[in-house]
């Protein structure tokens, strides 16, 4: 074989490998839709998305309304972001702007290790430590609830938010900060008025990715959220977010029965939400990419 033909062939092989990710993503969509769409032969899209009752195993008259599950996912994710965003962004600023290289060498691995803790372990911690603690400390009836789940999820999204924000802060051109210092601003003033606005789009990306991680996280909400399929009315209500419902019920749902299809349809909703979060994050990071010192 001639050298040049071989080179072209090799390039095609690598291209094929690179396209695998796209192909897998497409296949995920195909299979979710294939198994999920039959749901709408026995329940309308409106009743599915806005129905208030999720009783898929009721013998006489099963209900397939996932609004309580969507509301639970939304509530858990929002609450966990309220906790995780300040913590994650502050961690990023500390690591990028204040920590000495020596401190950084210790703190950075700590954040990375927090990211690598298996979700089942965090869920287990929430169950056996945080739940009894909340119950005794606050005198609430159930420790497995919305707040507990959000707290555990927050610690899972902090590392994502911190590391993506940190990259964004590093990308702020040195000249901008130097100009601020030269005008007599303190380090804090520079940080708040120059670095933060310049890194804002990157931090926004970080926040969206963190939220996307929280909404899709399964084991924590499965073990800690409490499991009641009702629209939450307080911080202490037990809830049943979408991933928890899918993971808990799939094993018992009869193969290709109504319940099975309804769970796949729930996964379609979940997938579309995380997909749009990720596309949005990608859009923001490309649109507002820091390309030089003049783009503030």
């Amino acid at each position: 074989m001639r050298r040049s033909t071989r080179e072209i062939l090799i390039k095609q092989v690598f291209l094929a490998a690179a396209v695998t990710s796209l192909a897998v993503l497409a296949l995920i969509m195909v299979f979710l839709f294939m198994e999920g769409l039959p749901t709408f032969s026995f329940v309308s899209v409106k009743d599915f998305l806005l129905g208030l009752d999720w009783y898929p195993t009721d013998e006489a008259r099963p209900d397939y309304g996932i609004l309580p599950l969507i509301a639970a996912s939304g509530a858990v994710t929002l609450l966990s972001s309220l906790l995780a965003i300040p913590l994650g962004v502050m961690t990023a600023f500390y690591l990028a702007e204040i920590a000495s290289p020596r401190v950084r060498a210790v703190v950075k691995p700590v954040v990375e290790m927090l990211a690598s803790l298996p979700s089942v372990v965090i869920g287990f911690f929430g169950m056996v430590v945080m739940a009894p603690f909340l119950q005794n400390f606050l005198g609430i009836p159930v420790g497995l609830n919305l707040f507990n789940a959000a707290l555990m999820l927050a610690f899972m999204s902090v590392p994502t938010i911190a590391s993506v924000s940190e990259d964004a802060i590093y990308a702020v051109p040195r000249e901008l900060k130097e100009a601020s210092f030269a005008l007599g601003a303190t380090h804090l003033e520079t940080l708040v008025r120059v670095t933060f606005p310049a890194a804002l789009s990157g931090i926004g990306t970080a926040v969206i990715l963190g939220m996307s991680r929280a909404i899709g996280e399964t084991m924590v909400v499965l073990m800690v959220a409490g499991g009641a399929a009702v629209i939450p009315d307080s911080l202490w209500s037990p809830v049943r977010p979408m991933p928890a419902s899918i993971a808990a019920e799939m094993a018992e749902a009869p193969f290709r029965g109504h319940h099975y299809h309804a769970l796949f349809a729930t996964a379609v909703v979940l997938f579309l939400v995380t997909l749009s979060f990720n596309v949005l994050a990608d859009y923001i990071s490309h649109k507002h990419r820091q390309t030089g010192s003049a783009s503030l």
Partner: protein
């Protein structure tokens, strides 16, 4: 990621040189306060990690014994050890890496060495980023639909490998690309100048110098796969099996799923607490051990790169 490439900024002195006014003092005080707040945030993060690890150590250490690690569960999983789970988790994560590593490294080589900036590259990157964001339970359903049902592989090691393999793909692609970026372009130019083809350059020059970085990535991938639960619960892991895996079509027990099952689904949740703690401790020892190794490996590589 590119932390050490940034230059440290000269920080202006806290006091102005000539005279200090009340306003300057206020500015310095608020700066001190704000930076203490940032330090506080770090402490919260570190404390969270320390509390979780410490709690598992305190409660789990007494469960760990030679027989706990090497025996099978007995008596409805209320006694005995976790050996089948350890075997299952090791097999699952190594197999997942066998799937993800060749594909991931090849993708990264294409993205970093061949692809020109343009629409195709943008779409592929978007695909990789989105794959990284797919919830693990969705990977589980995908594995159930494609590998277990459509390809008729059943609940098996093979289904688990394929599902976990695609789940780890973005991790491998990301870390490999980073490793390729760290290979100086002068290496490539030298090889090309000697008449090497693109492929010869990649195979003989770029890949050998990127190898330790790729190794770091594969360790991170293995640890990600080892801790994964939702993706294997419909595809590879079972509640309990008395048999050790015999072929790629056997179902297995796995550490994360074992924790979940004992902590939520058993009738004797309280009685099996020591086993739950012990299993969780073994799992995080495995996962954090691999991560620490990868972190040290990377730090060593960076030092070597600077010299």
């Amino acid at each position: 990621m590119n932390a050490d490439a940034t230059l440290t900024l000269p920080i202006p002195p806290r006091q102005s040189l000539s005279h200090t006014t009340g306003r300057d003092r206020r500015r310095n005080a608020s700066q001190w306060l704000a930076f203490m707040l940032l330090r506080g945030a770090i402490l919260v993060v570190a404390a969270a990690l320390a509390v979780i690890i410490g709690f598992l150590l305190v409660n789990g250490l007494s469960s760990i014994s030679w027989s706990f690690l090497t025996e099978a569960p007995r008596n409805n999983m209320t006694e005995g050890g976790i050996w089948p789970c350890i075997v299952g988790t090791v097999l699952l994560s190594l197999g997942a890496m066998a799937v993800a590593l060749p594909l991931g490294v090849a993708s990264a080589i294409y993205l970093h060495e061949y692809a020109l900036p343009g629409r195709l590259m943008r779409v592929i990157r978007l695909g990789v980023n989105n794959l990284a964001g797919v919830p693990s339970v969705v990977f589980g359903l995908f594995g159930l639909g494609l590998f277990v049902t459509a390809m008729d592989l059943g609940v098996s090691l093979l289904s688990g490998w394929l599902t976990l393999g695609v789940l780890c793909l973005p991790v491998i692609i990301g870390t490999t690309e980073e490793a390729l970026r760290s290979v100086p372009s002068t290496y490539r130019e030298a090889s090309l100048a000697l008449g090497g083809t693109k492929w010869q350059t990649i195979w003989r020059v770029v890949l050998p110098s990127a190898l330790p970085g790729i190794l770091t990535g594969s360790i991170l991938g293995i640890s990600r796969a080892a801790g994964e639960t939702a993706a294997i619960m419909f595809t590879a892991a079972v509640f309990y099996t008395p048999k050790m895996p015999k072929s790629v079509f056997s179902d297995v027990m796995a550490l994360p799923y074992h924790i979940y099952v004992l902590a939520t689904a058993g009738t004797e949740i309280e009685k099996t607490r020591p086993i739950q703690y012990g299993t969780a401790l073994v799992l995080i020892a495995l996962v954090l051990g691999m991560n620490l190794f990868a972190i040290f490996l990377r730090a060593w590589l960076q030092r070597r790169g600077e010299r």
